[in-house]
């Protein structure tokens, strides 16, 4: 807070001369405006280009009901037809399991950091570890789970193993965003609750977490968006299957990223290329729907102050 007052000298050290010739200053102002608008336009080019490519190449398969209700069983790269049902369900199932494991740990961990351990050395250690976890590349997380799940325990490759490795990737995202949201809860709310004699745990469960609920949900969705697009863990920890398999504890499983990965080697063939872009568009749409859903949940769950 004191830093705020020191803030003014803190920038560059060169005070701006506001009394100078207005021509030069106006020119600088215009130049800055032009540059900023230019930056925006430059950023829009790849954005529109990529989205345009994916949408224009992928949309027509999505209009077909089969895409949402059928698998790729018996469909080879040279053949049209089939759908992405197996991959959509695989992606949803694996990310749902990931969320079920990661979210409680992440939320409770954030509660610890904000409500219990604030400022302590133990909390700093936890914080430090989360930073490390943020730096784990997906392929390393996958190799780790492979070593534990298959080499040590001798299990088969299944969807659940993928979920375990995705937990490692999702945990830091959700924990960090939840932590920020809990920090935003005004102390007055906690104090009012304590003043009424409500025990701390109830205060957290009934006042703090519900207040931050919308933000937590948004964080969870951001984490989900990240893990849904991951490819490496799927390649290493579960085989791709063109068939419908809804059991995460047995057998190979389809998923949208691995579906793209299978067909991307055959982009010279139209049917395969169509499916690659359609699967990519489906994945983007899934993330988009989840985001919209998250925003809705956040909006409806927000505590109205009046």
């Amino acid at each position: 807070m004191t830093a705020i007052t020191e803030n003014k000298p803190a920038y560059d050290g060169q005070a701006l001369d506001l009394t100078g010739k207005s021509g030069a200053r106006a020119f600088k102002n215009t130049l800055a405006t032009v540059l900023i608008v230019l930056a925006f336009l430059i950023a829009m080019i790849p954005l529109l280009w990529i989205l345009g490519t994916v949408i224009s190449k992928g949309y027509h398969l999505l209009l077909n009901a089969d895409w949402w209700s059928q698998s790729q069983r018996g469909i080879t790269v040279r053949r049209q037809g089939g759908g992405a049902y197996h991959a959509i369900m695989g992606t949803l199932i694996m990310s749902l399991i990931t969320a079920l494991i990661a979210v409680p740990i992440a939320v409770l961990g954030a509660v610890y950091l904000v409500e219990y351990g604030k400022g302590t050395r133990a909390a700093r250690v936890v914080s430090f570890m989360i930073d490390i976890l943020t730096g784990v590349p997906s392929i390393v997380a996958a190799l780790f789970i492979y070593a534990v799940w298959i080499t040590i325990f001798g299990f088969n490759r299944v969807g659940f193993a993928v979920s375990l490795s995705l937990v490692l990737l999702m945990l830091p995202v959700v924990l960090r965003s939840t932590e920020e949201m809990l920090k935003l809860v005004p102390d007055e709310l906690r104090e009012a609750s304590y003043a009424l004699g409500v025990p701390k745990w109830k205060t957290i469960m009934k006042v703090v977490v519900p207040t931050a609920f919308g933000g937590i949900v948004t964080g969870v969705m951001l984490g989900l968006a990240r893990v849904m697009g991951e490819t490496a863990p799927l390649l290493i920890l579960v085989g791709y299957s063109k068939n419908i398999n809804l059991n995460p504890f047995n057998g190979f499983m389809g998923a949208l990223p691995t579906m793209i990965n299978q067909d991307r080697t055959e982009l010279a063939l139209q049917p395969a290329a169509d499916r690659v872009w359609a699967a990519a568009l489906t994945l983007i749409l899934l993330v988009l729907v989840l985001n919209v859903l998250a925003r809705l949940v956040a909006r409806f769950s927000a505590i109205k102050s009046k």
């Binding site: 698998s71 369900m89 298959i150 085989g239 068939n243 080697t265 010279a268 949940v297 769950s301």
Partner: protein, 370 residues
């Protein structure tokens, strides 16, 4: 107020669950093979078991096995076969780690791999079954050149990096009447370890006349720029002028690349066809012991009309020791794969069918699995 909020949260949650549930209900139909609409489930005879078969390995046979699985499902609709084209090494590793029921590999099992495989099969040896012949094409992208001839030594020099430009006299000599640019040759190779590289370098070593200095290996030791997988090198050549690579035939065809004819020393350049590739396999010698059918290919063959650069993908399976239902599945699927029906579907995909003689041997070996 909090009750209201809970209600709202609840209703959103229920709504989203409902969407999920709906999507879960409204779908399960599986498309039957395109050629036979309607249900073919009733055809499940005595030779059609039920269950799921998982396999993994060579990406060279990916398109072949996908096609055969699709055809096989028209016959046996209750069998699910999954094949993951992650690479020969991965296939053998997963097979030995008991993760898959059979593996596809571009090279026969090495002695130590065989030891591990025997252990995995409960003390019974595993077997190499030659199943798919994938010719390797030398593909180029040079403006104005749509017919191109190479021989072993020249190819070896190009891929070794001793011939650096397209207008080299050695190339001109093989291609009279064709004008080449003076541009440098961009070579693309597989950056991942692959059976294609191993077989191609075996050819360069055998017929390169000493111009290829490295040992044949899955990892590339020549010149050039590496690209990931067959798709990567094919895309590289397609998008780069004055470039050359080695790649499975089907990728060269699908990407509309110019495929080199090979002069194997017999005097006439040999075009890559299913027929000419099959001739090279006919010249191969058996290398396996006992019932093992590993082949020793003769990459330096001078047989007339034989295209010498081929790659044989083996299916690796246990001779004994799998659970009974898995054994039935493996036998059923692999015997379909080697059958006339199974092999016939491969020619359209730019693979060469197994010669009849080898087909018989492989079928006998599959029937002996118990």
């Amino acid at each position: 107020m909090s009750v209201n909020r809970l209600l709202r949260v609840g209703s959103v949650a229920v709504a989203s669950l409902g969407v999920l549930a709906l999507s879960a209900c409204g779908s399960d139909p599986e498309p039957s093979g395109s050629s036979s609409p309607g249900s073919s489930t009733s055809s499940a005879g005595a030779e059609c078991p039920q269950g799921t078969l998982n396999a993994e390995g060579s990406s060279a046979q990916k398109n072949a096995i996908d096609e055969v699985i699709s055809k096989y499902n028209e016959k046996c609709a209750d069998v699910t076969v999954n094949y993951n084209p992650t690479g020969s090494g991965a296939g053998v590793k997963q097979f030995n780690a008991n993760q898959v029921d059979f593996a596809g590999s571009d090279s026969a099992l090495k002695p130590d791999e065989m030891t591990a495989a025997t252990k995995r099969c409960g003390g019974n040896p595993a077997i190499d079954l030659p199943m798919v012949i994938g010719p390797v094409a030398i593909a180029i992208n040079v403006d104005g050149v749509d017919k191109f001839v190479l021989d072993g030594p020249t190819a070896a020099k190009i891929f070794q990096g001793t011939i650096k430009t397209w207008n080299d006299p050695a190339i001109a000599k093989l291609n009279p009447g064709v004008t080449f640019p003076s541009a440098p040759i961009s070579v693309f190779f597989r950056s991942d370890e692959s059976g294609t590289t191993e077989n191609f370098t075996k050819y360069l070593k055998a017929s390169g006349g000493g111009a290829w200095t490295g040992e044949p290996a899955k990892k590339w030791t020549g010149t050039g720029a590496g690209k990931e997988k067959s798709a990567g090198v094919a895309e590289g050549v397609k998008s780069t002028k004055n470039s050359i690579t080695y790649v499975e035939w089907s990728y060269a065809v699908d990407n509309k690349l110019t495929i080199a004819q090979i002069d194997n020393g017999s005097g006439t350049p040999i075009e890559l066809t299913a027929d000419s590739a099959g001739k090279a396999l006919a010249a191969a010698q058996p290398a396996g012991t006992g019932s093992d059918l590993a082949l020793k290919l003769d990459y330096a063959t001078k047989a007339a009309g034989a295209y010498p650069i081929i790659l044989v993908t083996y299916e690796i399976a246990c001779t004994k020791g799998l659970p009974a239902e898995k054994t039935a599945l493996v036998k059923s699927f692999l015997s379909y794969f080697v059958s006339k029906d199974g092999q016939a579907s491969l020619t359209d995909l730019n693979y060469a069918p197994l010669p009849a003689e080898i087909q018989t041997k492989v079928d006998a070996a599959i029937q002996a699995i118990s």
